[in-house]
């Protein structure tokens, strides 16, 4: 398996670099700069049609297209995996239109576009993570009108959000929200971290890398600068807690990482393995061996060839 394409290739002719025209890039770039200046605030932008359907991360794709340069190295993940159809097609899209190098290795990437996970390996100062966001507005389910949610954000009127979380506690005895768990950024804006598991929320706090969020259908860009306070909403008597897993990864024996349940065979065999496939592979290369590594079919170990 090659972790990185060998050379960077010339982009196909007939496209502007990274597909978007320069006017659109400038508009998105200005939005990104304002998003960085007001951490957690949703900047409206004029989202463009992309040659892929909504739901395929067109917001993230437009942000990535606007920041990429010829020397960048791009990684794309979907639910922690580099090999899903969504991740593969976005990676191919940028190889074709920008000619940039791509990688599956978190440590080698300068730009990581993601749907639903933050890599287990901490990101460094030279890295930007771009989240594909379906619904950027954390107050949407409390107040569907954008004119009203803008007012609530303007006034930092977030009482309703706390009420909603507290209703969870009344009903379930704990806060039941496990994905898109709301955070407060730099002590001001309440932000939806996109449908990442709340397991990843602590990684957003004081991250060394820059975090950018793009919602294509909803036409919003927002950001968390590096080294910024990100607090998951909670209550004194019900503090925020991340998910824990009772077993280590069945393939690489990692603990304290996010695991997915996978079906092993047609007899109902199941195991829990790293959601971050690159992190899992790197650990196995380093000799870490999980309890079921020997019995697992190659395809489930992520030993297919990367595009």
């Amino acid at each position: 398996m090659t972790a990185q394409s060998a050379t960077h290739t010339a982009p196909e002719t007939g496209y502007n670099f990274a597909y978007l025209d320069e006017q659109t890039k400038r508009m998105i770039r200005r939005a990104i700069l304002k998003a960085i200046a007001v951490p957690g605030y949703q900047v409206p932008f004029a989202s463009r049609e992309m040659p892929m359907p909504y739901g395929w991360g067109t917001g993230g794709v437009q942000v990535t297209a606007s920041i990429l340069g010829p020397d960048d190295v791009l990684k794309v993940i979907d639910q922690g995996s580099d090999d899903t159809t969504n991740a593969v097609s976005i990676r191919k899209f940028f190889k074709r239109t920008a000619g940039v190098r791509t990688t599956t290795r978190t440590g080698e990437a300068t730009v990581i576009q993601t749907r639903h996970r933050i890599p287990e390996q901490p990101l460094g100062e030279g890295q930007v993570i771009v989240y594909q966001v379906p619904i950027p507005e954390p107050l949407r389910f409390l107040e569907p009108r954008e004119t009203e949610t803008r007012k609530l954000h303007a006034l930092a009127e977030y009482g309703l959000m706390h009420v909603k979380l507290y209703e969870d506690i009344a009903r379930h005895g704990h806060i039941a929200t496990t994905y898109a768990y709301p955070v407060e950024v730099a002590g001001r804006y309440i932000m939806d971290p996109s449908p990442t598991p709340k397991f990843d929320n602590p990684k957003m706090h004081m991250m060394a890398g820059l975090q950018l969020f793009g919602a294509g259908r909803e036409k919003r860009i927002y950001a968390i600068p590096p080294y910024t306070q990100v607090r998951s909403l909670d209550f004194e008597d019900h503090p925020f807690r991340i998910q824990t897993f009772s077993h280590p990864c069945a393939l690489c024996a990692a603990e304290g990482v996010y695991l997915d349940e996978v079906v092993m065979d047609d007899r109902g065999g199941r195991m829990f393995v790293c959601s971050d496939t690159d992190s899992c592979e790197e650990r196995r290369e380093q000799g870490h061996r999980g309890a079921m590594l020997a019995d697992t079919p190659a395809a489930l170990k992520g030993e297919s060839s990367h595009v």
Binding site: N16, F17, E22, Q23, K25, R26, M27, R29, R30, A31, I32, L33, K34, A35, I36, A37, V38, P39, Y41, V43, P44, S66, I67, L68, G69, P70, E125, R150, K151, H153, A154, L155, A186, R188, Y189, M206, A208, L210, A223, I224, P225, P226, Y227, T228, Q229
Partner: protein, 198 residues
């Protein structure tokens, strides 16, 4: 009329590199980011001011010029030709304000501060200085800064303390600043504060 100075040699790549420097500058306040500009704009516009304008301004993002640039022959024509942006006299309409003379007072409260609901609709000030370093000087804190960040600009822009004070009072509205010296830029987004009052 004399010939206009040329624009970017490679518009796509040059604009991306200048944006990249501006993005990192605002994401890591006070930390100098390298910025190379091959431009030779009419003086007193500096190559760095011109690079930021050409990379980011256009017909949707008007430019305001400080008196030094407004009085300079060819500065407004150069910008209009290469960006398509309107050069506006009203600071409140400007997406970008280019300031060539950091020693002069600025109409700080007249720039666009954004609104409570749309704080992004605000002016970004781009101020030319002669030198920038992070070895000592004023101490900054805020998002993008792990603990504390030093910043020394020479000359120290006359309006900077007022801008930071205003930002602290009106946040999330406010003004974002890029300081541009030969070969490097520094960002001071509206979220940045001085550790001690100036």
């Amino acid at each position: 009329m004399t010939a206009l100075a040329h624009g970017f040699g490679d518009p796509v790549t040059d604009a991306q590199q200048v944006f990249h420097a501006a993005m990192n500058a605002l994401a890591r306040p006070g930390r100098p980011q390298p910025l190379t500009s091959g431009l030779e704009p009419p003086r007193p516009m500096t190559p760095e001011l011109a690079a930021i304008a050409l990379a980011l301004a256009d017909h949707e993002a008007p430019i305001w010029l400080d008196p030094a640039l407004a009085a300079a022959s060819g500065a407004a024509d150069f910008l209009r030709f290469h960006t398509g942006a309107a050069v506006v006299a009203d600071p409140g309409r400007a997406a970008f304000a280019l300031i060539a003379d950091p020693g002069m007072p600025l109409p700080v409260e007249q720039f666009a501060l954004g609104t409570a609901e749309f704080p992004d609709r605000s002016t970004t000030l781009v101020i030319a200085v002669e030198d920038l370093s992070d070895t000592n000087g004023w101490v900054l804190r805020g998002p993008g800064i792990a603990d504390r960040q030093s910043l020394l600009a020479a000359p120290w822009p006359h309006a900077l303390a007022d801008i930071v004070r205003l930002n602290s009072a009106v946040f999330p509205r406010g003004l974002d600043v890029l300081l541009a010296a030969p070969g490097r830029i520094v960002g001071l987004p509206r979220s940045t504060r001085f550790v001690e009052e100036i």
